[in-house]
Amino acid sequence: MRLSKKAVSLFSKVMMVTVLAAGLLAAPLLASSANAEVKKLKILSNNPFSGKAASWGFSQDRGVGLAVDKVNKAGGIKVGGVTYMWEKVRCDNRYIPADAVSCLKRGVAQGIRFMCTLGGAVTKPQIPLINKNKIVTIAAIAGGADFTNAKNKYLFRTMPSADLTISIEGIKIYKKLGVKKLGLLTADNVLGRSDAKTLKNALKVNKMSDILVAEEFVPINTSDFTPALTRILAKNPDHIEGGAWPAAGLALLIKQARELGYKGTFTNLTGAPKVGPLVKIGGKKNVEGVIMLRLWPPDQLPTKAFKEYWADYRRLYKQDPGANSWESYMAFMHLSAAIEKAQSLDPDKVVAAMRDLKIVTLLGELQLVGKDNPLLPGYGINNQYTSPLPVTVIKDGKPVIYQ
């Protein structure tokens, strides 16, 4: 191989650039070693802040943010004479599993030991890292024993699991409505797939398997459901379960089903979509009678603390809070109380303190369940938060508690 002088000079340029690269690599090291002395306790907010699931991400992030402010204002957490102030560190995972892992790696690299995250699809690949690095995680994830089991000691589910929503409340609602032919149209992701599995299981246990006449999975970013709905409507269902959709998806699904002449009812057992956009996009007439779980109607809030929370959220963000905002708020308050009770930042001690700690927060008493609970098969560990679970129906464009 012969090399010209020009090529040699080019190569040395390349090398210079590489040295530059080394310099850039070392830069964060020098820059951030300065503020190591501040007693701060960091929680990683590993959530989607852009993309289709951004509204869920912001909702959870804001809920945790309000809780962080509340704890800090009350003087922080005192552990063995040292006062710790919470600091929330955001990382945008765009609802992409690999980005979420990257965010967690980045968090671990910064020495963060607490995290909040959401979505089964992005949480599942994080589990090995969570267990290995003992990251105490509060996560808004559906599913059931596939996430919450004795192996995943550090993963706490803030929202009601599919065993609580679909298998218990869902079946109750179907029985009450007298559903004869059920069509399922849900998202083609981990959440949608695992919900479908839970639903089929629950129908089998209740000897109702024959009511499920159609199931369809379409991508989460779909806006035209007509082909999938045509398939489902060919089976003449009298009830459609729109599973894991955020508000816009569910609204378009309902609107387009009505436009195709569908007259039956709808439920949404897991998505907890916001009612405002749902009514606006779907049309007031179309979404009448849609039954949803986990949503509190703004004028039927159960406690004073919850009303204050609602007002705070509205004042700061000019919109109503979503379900995962208050669920993660409550879980975070529980976590903070547990750290204070354990008088340690050691993940194992904190987790042990969380297991049998009961606190009173927004919706009354909050505690962890799962162990030896016949309703939660296979959990075997107290890592599931429970609080009152509202069933809501849309009447006249407004949510009201369903009788």
Partner: protein, 331 residues
């Protein structure tokens, strides 16, 4: 000193300097080591990805489908090593991933290299887009929407106390092997022919050379590099899904070249360092990240088309001195 050995010596010095980074960081600021490693690994892998386009750019074409080949490499590794455990040695998984990417690139390349410019760009992009529905639709072997999880680290990485160091050295070796490979090819007969094809392919045909063969070769080689990187990335991330590598991944790879300087070898390296660094800095910025990206693209396209590499020449020119050489080859 022998001018033939000079670049290799320089490379060795730089490599040694980068190799010293882990022990030095651990010594000076141990708390910052993992974050430094995380950024370093991403930068070094991206240097490899950025360089994969270099040969193709010499031939005058640009692929917007590299995310597809990263996906193929990563999925092949994941399926063989993690999902069905058909291969017990992760290194062989990487090799399989690279081979899969190469074979598919040879087949696709044979069909599409007669297309020029925007048509080549569009067809490679369509190919990458087409993978997505395939991956989500089949639970076996692709794992559906969930993708593949629990992809193990390669053997031998356990020699280091923690995986960060191992991955850092792996990425370092990857980046330098890719650089060496590209460098060797650039100076070889194939490299010269490729460059002539980019300048005037009709003339090359008149010289009795089969243009299509060289273009396919160059395309496949780029995809081989991408495939290996995909496998390493799969291990590092431990989980991959159909949404992991998207249009924006391919766009990033083009942007490394654009920011650094299209058609120069230093370009993709500089670009990868700058853009990856920026990306890691903006990790919490949400939608501002898009705004910054957009501004960067528009800035480099309209004001600095030669990329960062051309900056010294541009400054010299602005100062009124005669510029020695300009490395503008956009389009």
């Amino acid at each position: 000193m022998n001018s033939k050995l000079a670049p290799y010596l320089t490379a060795l010095v730089v490599m040694a300097a980068l190799a010293l980074l882990p022990p030095l960081t651990k010594l000076i600021a141990p708390a910052q080591w993992e974050l430094t490693a995380h950024i370093g690994i991403k930068v070094l892998l991206n240097v490899g990805f950025g360089l994969c386009l270099w040969l193709m750019l010499q031939a005058g074409e640009l692929s917007l489908g590299q995310s597809g080949f990263i996906t193929i490499g990563a999925y092949t590794t994941g399926i063989l090593v993690a999902k069905y455990k058909l291969i017990s040695v992760v290194w062989l998984g990487y090799l399989a991933g690279a081979l899969a990417a190469t074979v598919i690139a040879l087949l696709l390349g044979y069909l599409i290299v007669h297309l020029r410019r925007i048509f080549f760009l569009l067809v490679t992009w369509s190919f990458a887009e087409m993978l997505h529905p395939v991956l989500t639709s089949f639970e076996h072997p692709f794992g559906g929407a969930m993708g593949i999880i629990d992809i193990p680290a390669p053997e031998g990485l356990g020699l280091f106390a923690e995986s960060w160091t191992g991955y850092y050295y792996l990425a370092l070796i990857y980046a330098f092997v890719v650089l060496w490979l590209i460098w060797r090819i650039a100076g070889s007969k194939v490299g010269l022919i490729t460059k002539s094809i980019g300048q005037n392919d009709t003339l090359v045909t008149f010289c009795g050379l089969y243009v299509r063969k060289y273009k396919v070769m160059v395309f496949a080689l780029g995809c081989f590099i991408t495939g290996v990187g995909g496998g390493i990335l799969a291990s590092y991330l431990t989980a991959i899904s159909p949404e992991t590598f998207t249009f924006f991944t391919s766009l990033d790879i083009i942007m490394f070249n654009l920011i650094g300087g299209m058609g120069t070898m230093a370009g993709p390296i500089v670009g990868a360092v700058i853009l990856t660094g920026l990306n890691e800095y903006l990790f919490a910025a949400g939608y501002w990240r898009m705004v910054v990206y957009g501004l960067i693209i528009i800035f480099f396209i309209t004001l600095l088309p030669g990329g960062m590499v051309s900056l010294p020449a541009v400054i010299r020119k602005k100062l009124g001195r005669k510029s020695s050489k300009q490395e503008v080859s956009l389009g």
